[in-house]
């Protein structure tokens, strides 16, 4: 085994300690995990510039995953032994999986960091089927921006009938003139504006080279934005995508607003694409999120042969529900998270020791953002007082208020939140999210049942933003 005896012992204590708490879906002590997987975080190379160009040195996970996808089974106890083959500390955060706090992968808060050459054993039983992803929560900006991220599919107990089940792990890369991952991580400008957005966008670790399809088919396409900062708004020319799940959680099948799928960092969307195009033709998939910077992500190209069938299949698009606890809104405890700061922030951080959007001497130094007037920076600190505390089993009605001039995908660890309203209007289609995107000035109301004890993070998933102050912790007793 590649890990030290000490690590093993401390992990056993973790398991015993946390297993005493009745968390839904958690492995019982002594229960042998159905699957034991090995994974390593290390240097690798990927064809970011296409098969013709030189490969680019990146960081990646290897081992139990195939083409950057880890496949788990809903309700199956799983053990994943993660070895750190990097030269810096790391951890793994299983983004969106409702698991025991000790398995959540936040250094200093839920576990010690995994040092270079050491390993950590993650034990959990994914309660929800769907599309998830994982990434480090230590040295997050540099490691994720260098590619350290992968998708995680938790398979439904009964497979959903589609012709093809595909996943696009979307990443972007900021490269230097010589084509290497560019330095300059954590620049003050990126921190105060829209973060480290890269110029090269890849699908599943490679330059997109088109998706070949057959007419008449039905595809489940799982989209996962693993960028550190890039927001995406995807359009599928000539097609009518139906959103069937968000952040892994099934929703009422619906067409996205204005035909574009808004996907901020860390967000996932499962869509059903019926191949209604003409054989022999090509259709662009475009991203028009940033004004004046729209581009074609890839193309869907139809084979010229006979269609798979004459018309799309009749079957329901609805995915089987996950066992999410329904919030008790009438008896909920109300909490509010206010996002402040950033460029053009109107000096909201003045007096907090932070960096106002005006009257500053430069862009260096100090936090750029705050949540409820507090700036938790870097990878976070274990001793920061929780922003709020919830009693186990209580429903939390959480209002997220964006007082900044920038977009923020706010990620809650350990829970999926039912999204209730956006700017006063009810949010339709039964949407549950672990990463809720707020446009500038947006106010979003959500609710969740605090059924999982521990200290949990709540932070912006534009990593430059979270490291510069858009991060907090709440406690469930």
């Amino acid at each position: 085994m590649p890990f030290s005896l000490n690590t093993t012992l401390s992990r056993r204590r973790f398991v015993l300690g946390s297993a005493a708490l009745p968390v839904a879906g958690m492995a019982l002590p002594g229960t042998a995990p159905a699957a034991e997987l090995n994974m390593r975080a290390a240097q690798a190379s990927l064809p970011l510039l296409g098969s013709a160009g030189p490969d680019t040195a990146v960081l990646a996970y290897s081992g139990a995953l195939e083409k950057q996808i880890l496949r788990l089974k809903q309700g199956a106890p799983t053990r994943i032994i993660v070895e750190n083959g990097l030269n810096k500390d790391t951890t793994v955060h299983w983004h969106g999986i409702r698991l025991a706090n000790a398995m959540d992968g936040v250094p200093g808060l839920t576990q010690p960091p995994i040092k270079p050459g050491e390993s950590f054993i993650y034990d959990f039983t994914p309660p929800d089927a769907g599309t998830f992803w994982f990434h480090p929560h230590a040295n997050s900006l540099e490691q994720i921006a260098s590619g350290l991220a992968a998708a995680m599919i938790v398979e439904e107990r009964e497979p959903v009938p589609v012709d093809r089940d595909l996943l696009w792990l979307l990443q972007d890369w900021r490269l230097s003139e010589v084509g290497e991952i560019a330095g300059g991580f954590g620049s003050a400008m990126d921190a105060m504006m829209s973060g480290r957005v890269g110029k090269v966008v890849t699908i599943n670790g490679a330059k997109p080279e088109g998706l070949a399809v057959r007419a008449g088919g039905r595809i489940r396409l799982r989209l996962a934005n693993a960028c550190v900062a890039r927001m995406m708004a995807l359009r599928f020319e000539g097609h009518t995508p139906m959103v069937v799940a968000l952040d892994g959680q099934p929703c009422e099948p619906h067409e996205p607003d204005n035909g574009r799928i808004l996907l901020a960092p860390a967000m996932r969307a499962d869509i059903i694409l019926d191949m209604t195009g003409e054989p022999g033709k090509g259709y662009a998939v475009t991203d028009d999120f940033y004004d004046g910077l729209d581009y074609t992500l890839t193309n869907i190209t139809y084979e010229s042969g006979t269609p798979l069938r004459d018309h799309p299949p009749d079957g329901s698009l609805r995915l089987p529900p996950n066992p999410l606890p329904e919030p008790d809104i009438a008896n909920a405890l109300r909490q509010e998270i206010v996002l402040q700061g950033g460029m053009m922030g109107g000096g909201k951080l003045k007096g907090l020791g932070g960096m106002p959007g005006m009257n500053m001497s430069g862009m260096g130094g100090g936090p750029s953002w705050a949540i409820n007037g507090m700036s938790m920076t870097g990878d976070g600190t274990a001793d920061m007082a929780p922003a709020f505390t919830l009693k186990r089993g209580q429903t939390c009605h959480l209002t997220l208020r964006n007082q900044t001039a920038w977009w923020h995908p706010m990620h809650i660890h350990g829970f999926s939140m039912k999204v209730l309203t956006r700017n006063g209007a009810p949010v339709p289609h039964n949407q549950w999210q672990d990463t809720v995107l707020l446009a500038p000035a947006d106010v979003v109301e959500c609710a969740f049942v605090a059924d999982n004890p521990g200290n949990w993070m709540l932070h912006c998933h534009v990593i430059d933003h979270s490291m510069a102050g858009l991060m907090t912790v709440f406690r469930v007793t």
Partner: protein
């Protein structure tokens, strides 16, 4: 948003308008696609004899660093004009001084977004230091104090 922009432009027009030059000065201004102050600054330059090509980019910090702007002195956008980088909301008179004097530097910067600067609202308080920088790693020097 539109009203705010117009108000800002009107304020700027009052504060900064000067007779337009007959010949225009070509400049390319790189800005974050989601930042609006720079557009007001570009309009102000347009009022003052510049033809500004505003380009939205997602790698502004990289462009600024490649132009030699010291990280601690980065402005909110980067403009290329006459072979120089001009970072931040530098008043037009200072840009013209740079283009007339042609010093052996890579560019100048007014970091931060001080109140009263072109592109920002409010009134100027205190003095501003516009720094000169080079590409050879020398510490920045004072180009102008206003």
């Amino acid at each position: 948003m539109k009203i705010n922009r117009r108000t800002a432009l009107a304020t700027l027009a009052m504060a900064f308008t000067k007779p337009a030059f007959a010949a225009t000065i070509e400049a390319v201004l790189y800005k974050n696609p989601q930042c609006s102050c720079c557009e007001v600054y570009a309009a102000y330059l347009g009022e003052n004899g510049f033809t500004v090509d505003v380009k939205s980019v997602n790698d502004l910090s990289q462009i600024s660093a490649d132009a030699g702007v010291p990280p601690e002195l980065q402005g909110c956008h980067t403009m290329m004009v006459g072979g120089y980088a001009v970072d931040g909301l530098v008043p037009v008179d200072i840009v013209k001084k740079l283009l007339a004097e042609k010093p052996a530097i890579a560019g100048i910067t007014l970091p931060g977004m001080p109140a009263g600067a072109p592109g920002m609202g409010g009134a100027k308080t205190g003095s501003w230091v516009i720094s000169a920088f080079t590409m050879d790693g020398q510490p920045p020097t004072v180009f102008a104090t206003i």
